[in-house]
């Protein structure tokens, strides 16, 4: 029977919505009269629509139309397609003019401006003629020239990225970790940190082993990693973060997770997200040390997702890298515990997600294994522009550089983030039916919502209650959040998740729409 306990199957499975159930009533009522095929904006390939729809694909569109025809709305993204169509058509009126999509950790989409220095260097690398004039600062030109020398314009990087940029990354890590040595040959640059994670998982997960390979993952956890794991035939073994204690990781829960895996799979790795995503925690040095001791004792490979390392707001919080904590513990652990740490140009204050560049640093790996890892990484090349952005990220303008005053604007982004954090905590916690743990880092808020039993009952006819809530929020207030269901949560608890990396006025608008909607929703189901 132990096999039945296991909720993951090898390979790609279908995650289906419970079939044949009724949809929760009260959804999509405003859309029923949507005049399809009337305004010229309804075709899936209409460039106007496609451009505006953002993450929505034509397949969403197809399903959306299918759902619309059946008057059954189950998918929040399809619903957002319909709402988009609605906003563009003459027939239906909404109380809002556009949907604010904060379901993704995508600062530029949410209205944060790219850093000028990064973009100037990119432009100069792309079109070196720009360096002839006086439009660009001297340090921009110098940086671009230095980088161009290393990469010959648009050429494929070397096996693991452009050597000089890897060197810059290793120097950055060295500075970050207070001088703990960092070897460039242990760093691989990839098209995004998820790509690097997938590669490391590929090495760890023995698809032919029985019992199957297990990886401990936190709850809540963003889903991309879980999808990667499942795709490789591994079992995701959940450990639950303690919400009441600010989403703290308690070592006992790791032990419980290991116990739960007995007879099901063979756990080889422990995946940690710090700072958290979607919960906004930042782990303390003490916590990290405990986790490392646990990993050492239980022979687990550490996978540290540290992509939000630059996003720490908590007054008492400090980002400590797993690598640093490991080194500070000293021998024998510091020489034995295997660790992969991931970082990216997509997050942080730069937010260049679209360039697709991240890296992994490997610590204490068996040299015999490193040989194959090197082979594996050498089959993919990483986009050069992303590597350029990475170089700027790890090596930003310094005081005294001509671009430094402009670069200081990142501090403005930091300040507006701090303001957002304050406002989110203030507004959300002013409702007794919400509870938001203190936001210390990362890019998301993940407040718990106490839904009235009537709402839960109504939703459960066809949807998870928090999905129902988010879909109603989308339809009625034009704000796109993610339901906690998508990340995993304790049974019987419900959450909503949204990105807090937005301009402050956008965040005010979001909170305003949310508050109005929430009051009304709670009244309706009181």
């Amino acid at each position: 029977t132990s096999g039945q306990c296991c909720s993951m199957q090898p390979g790609w499975g279908r995650c289906t919505q419970a079939a044949g159930t009724r949809q929760a009533p009260g959804l999509g009522e405003s859309l029923v009269s949507l005049p399809l095929n009337c305004s010229g904006h309804q075709e899936p390939s209409c460039s106007h629509c496609v451009g505006q729809r953002g993450k929505i694909t034509d397949i969403h569109y197809t399903i959306a139309i299918r759902e619309w025809k059946k008057k059954k709305f189950k998918n929040i993204h399809c619903l957002s397609v319909l709402i988009f169509l609605c906003l563009n058509s003459q027939g239906v009126r909404k109380s809002y003019r556009e949907v604010i999509d904060v379901s993704w950790g995508d600062p530029h989409r949410a209205g944060v401006k790219p850093l000028s220095f990064v973009r100037q260097v990119l432009a100069a690398c792309l079109y070196p003629q720009l360096m002839d004039g006086d439009k660009l600062m001297v340090d921009v030109k110098q940086r671009a020239q230095r980088l161009l020398k290393t990469c010959a314009g648009g050429s494929v990087g070397k096996t693991s990225g452009i050597p000089q940029i890897i060197q810059s990354v290793s120097e950055y890590i060295l500075r970050r970790d207070g001088g703990i040595p960092c070897h460039p040959e242990n760093i691989y640059i990839t098209p995004g940190s998820q790509w690097a994670l997938t590669n490391i998982l590929k090495v760890l997960v023995n698809s032919e082993a029985s019992p199957r390979t297990g990886v401990l993952i936190p709850v809540p956890c963003h889903s991309t990693t879980i999808v990667s794991l499942t795709a490789l035939g591994a079992v995701a073994v959940p450990y639950y973060l303690s919400e009441e204690r600010g989403w703290a990781l308690e070592v006992e829960t790791l032990q419980q997770a290991l116990d739960s895996a007995k007879g099901v799979c063979n756990p080889v790795a422990l995946y940690i997200i710090n700072p958290g995503n979607p919960a906004g925690y930042v782990q303390s040095r003490k916590c990290i040390q405990e986790v490392i001791h646990f990993a050492a004792e239980k022979k687990l490979f550490l996978l540290a997702d540290e992509v939000y390392q630059d996003c720490v707001y908590g007054k008492e919080s400090e980002f400590v890298s797993y690598k640093r904590a490991l080194a500070e513990i000293g021998a024998p652990l510091s020489d034995t515990v295997e660790l992969a740490s991931f970082h990216t140009a997509s997050k942080g204050l730069m937010g260049e997600c679209g360039l697709r560049t991240g890296y992994v640093e490997l610590v204490n790996l068996d040299p015999a294994v490193m040989k194959y890892i090197n082979n594996l990484f050498s089959t993919n090349s990483c986009p050069v522009l992303g590597q350029v952005a990475l170089d700027v990220m790890v090596n930003p303008p310094q005081p005294g550089d001509p671009s430094y005053p402009l670069y200081l604007k990142t501090q403005h982004i930091r300040a507006s983030l701090a303001e957002n954090v304050r406002r989110v905590e203030e507004v959300i916690n002013s409702f007794p039916s919400f509870s938001c743990q203190s936001l210390e880092g990362g890019a998301f808020a993940f407040p718990r919502v106490f839904l009235p039993p009537k709402a839960i009952e109504k939703a459960k006819a066809g949807l998870q209650p928090d999905t129902f809530y988010c879909m109603r929020l989308l339809e009625e207030a034009g704000v796109l959040f993610s339901p906690g269901t998508e990340y995993g949560q304790m049974e019987g608890t419900y959450h909503i998740s949204f990105c807090i990396m937005t301009p402050t006025d956008t965040m005010e608008e979001i909170l305003k729409r949310l508050s109005t909607f929430h009051k009304q929703f709670m009244r309706e189901f009181a």
């Binding site: 451009g51 450990y239 679209g354 089959t379």
Partner: protein, 562 residues
């Protein structure tokens, strides 16, 4: 089953449609939740998917969730912790060990070392290392297309839009691209299938290329270079165990991306040999032979074709493509057409025919049934922009359910690099007559392509003057793949070193001349024959010297070992 059509597409919907954590996690553990009785939990038991192919007429009708079967290697309970490591050579994923990538193999590693030694002032018999191993055009001095770079610079730093030195058409193109980006920034994620307006432009391009054969933007997927698309498609195709394990037919010589991906996926590689005597043409009899033999031990499901050929440089005739399509239809194989060199055709009388066009011209019997994936990228042709990792694939006749799964697979990497998508858009939609940048664009493109044609002729001509080297015409692509005669003594010497004879040859050439080539053994070749792959990309004057050095080296080598 048909009632529960899969609706998941992006990572977001994926989360959404998986009803709760019961679907994603192993139940129990720290949580109080038990799986039994929850509807979402049942969905994860996957009601016999492998037997529910929704359209049995398709080679690829649904993802198999066949269990991986019994372990081939059992992990020992206590022996895994050699030197205290969790991850050891003994317990790592065995399929990863099989991955090899010749284009960046030991020769290239040695070349890098030699470059370093040269820069440190060490004396060598050559002044510089010439990397003729990889099709990286711009590293070889090919100039980028000005218009493309202008638009991309504008997209990167839109403040430049007020700069009067940029042509108006570049500006309007940049605005159009930025308008399709989230937050008007190339730094935002796009949909995982790619930016809608770009896919639309790609579809229009394909229609023009194929003389009006219709193309749906829905069938276009923007990828991280063509290789991302190829690997993803293979991932979708491979399933089964033992004698039912998926077999994939690839040409020999082949581009090592295919063998590496198949090794990683533990798929069965089915080799069919191209006919070197007939200018590396594809012979249906050989396809049949390879397939019949393979059927005894695996389940062949896909046929990969590289046209124009890499590393062999042949361009397939229309007739040959028709034969291949008929063969695929008869044998129910999924066709994968790697057409990244579609603009690189030099030989007179040769013309590029896309598989899609030929398929549709063969009538509905074929055009409505044969499943085809065609790949293109921004890395080759006259653009040579390898560093942007732009590419697309067009998928034809694929089952809708499988398409959903494909989008899910692609969603793991979130999206392909947005600047690469923007560049792809420019490639399929270059300046038009009457626009300010048109003349310059045509001039630059023609210059690059005619230089390549000239270098293709030159390479063939010079190599064929060397006794012991025989080179087929380089009809297309960017490489020559000449056959070399290696003296018996050298073969023995190589064996002593545990090297392939052509690896030995290329390593020696590198040490003596600084020329970096890839041995034929990295691509596969008929037993007892030896080759190397050399790009035709170096500038003409440099190429002449290079060819001459190859010539002299070969003569020296032959003399030394005869």
């Amino acid at each position: 089953m048909s009632a529960t059509r899969v609706q998941l597409i992006s990572p977001r919907t994926l989360r959404l449609l998986s009803p709760g954590r019961s679907a994603l996690f192993l139940p129990g553990g720290g949580g109080p939740h038990r799986g039994g009785g929850v509807p979402g939990f049942r969905s994860l038991i996957f009601p016999s998917l492998s037997s529910s192919f929704s359209s049995p007429g398709r080679a690829l009708s649904s993802l198999s969730t066949t269990r991986r079967g019994l372990p081939k290697t059992k992990m020992s309970d206590n022996g895994t912790m050699t030197r205290g490591k969790v991850l050891t050579i003994d317990n790592m994923n065995p399929t990863v060990k099989k991955v090899e990538y010749a284009v960046r193999g030991p020769i290239v590693q040695r070349a890098v070392e030699l470059e370093k030694e040269l820069s440190e002032g060490r004396k060598k018999p050559f002044a510089e290392v010439i990397k003729a191993n990889i099709g990286d055009a711009q590293a070889m001095g090919q100039q980028p297309i000005t218009f493309f770079r202008q638009v991309l610079a504008l997209c990167s730093y839109p403040e430049l839009l007020s700069d009067s030195t940029f042509p108006e058409d570049a500006k309007s193109r940049a605005c159009r691209i930025l308008n399709s980006c989230g937050g008007n920034s190339m730094g935002a994620y796009s949909a995982s299938q790619g930016i809608g307006s770009v896919r639309q432009d790609v579809a229009r391009y394909i229609e023009r290329r194929d003389g009006g054969v219709p193309c749906e933007p829905d069938n276009i997927y923007l990828t991280t270079g063509a290789s991302d698309g190829i690997v993803t498609m293979l991932k979708l195709l491979v399933c089964g165990e033992g004698a039912t394990r998926t077999g994939v037919m690839i040409s020999i010589p082949q581009y090592p991306l295919y063998s590496a991906a198949l090794a990683e996926l533990s798929a069965v590689q089915i080799n069919y040999y191209l006919n070197e005597e007939k200018c590396w043409s594809l012979d249906i009899g050989e396809l049949q032979r390879a397939l019949d033999e393979a059927r005894l031990h695996c389940n062949p499901r896909a046929l990969c074709i590289i046209n124009p050929g890499n590393p062999t440089g042949q361009v397939q005739s229309r007739e040959c493509i028709e034969d291949v399509i008929r063969f695929a239809a008869k044998e129910r194989l999924f066709l994968m057409a790697d057409e990244v060199y579609q603009d690189n055709v030099y030989a007179e009388g040769c013309q590029f025919h896309s598989f899609k066009k030929v398929l549709f011209e063969m009538g509905p019997e074929y055009s409505e049934t044969v499943e085809l994936a065609s790949f293109h990228s921004t890395s080759k042709c006259y653009m040579g922009e390898c560093g942007f990792r732009g590419g697309y694939m067009e998928i034809i006749n694929m089952d809708d359910d499988v398409k959903d799964q494909l989008t899910k697979l692609l969603s793991v990497r979130l999206c392909s690099p947005v600047p690469g998508q923007a560049l792809m858009d420019l490639v399929v939609n270059p300046p038009q007559p009457g626009e300010p940048s048109y003349e310059r664009f045509i001039k630059e493109r023609t210059a690059t392509l005619s230089a390549l044609a000239e270098k293709a002729r030159l390479t063939e001509q010079v190599l064929n003057t060397v006794e012991g080297i025989r080179c087929n015409p380089v009809q297309g692509a960017m490489y020559s793949f000449p056959r070399i005669t290696i003296p018996e003594k050298a073969i023995q010497e190589a064996k002593k070193l545990g090297q392939q004879p052509d690896m030995f040859y290329c390593m020696k050439m590198l040490e003596e001349t600084g020329i970096c080539l890839v041995p034929g053994s990295g691509f596969g070749q008929r037993e007892g024959t030896y080759h190397f792959r050399m790009t035709i990309l170096p500038p003409t004057d440099k190429l002449k010297i290079l060819l001459n050095n190859v010539k002299e080296f070969h003569q020296r080598f032959t003399q030394q070992y005869s």
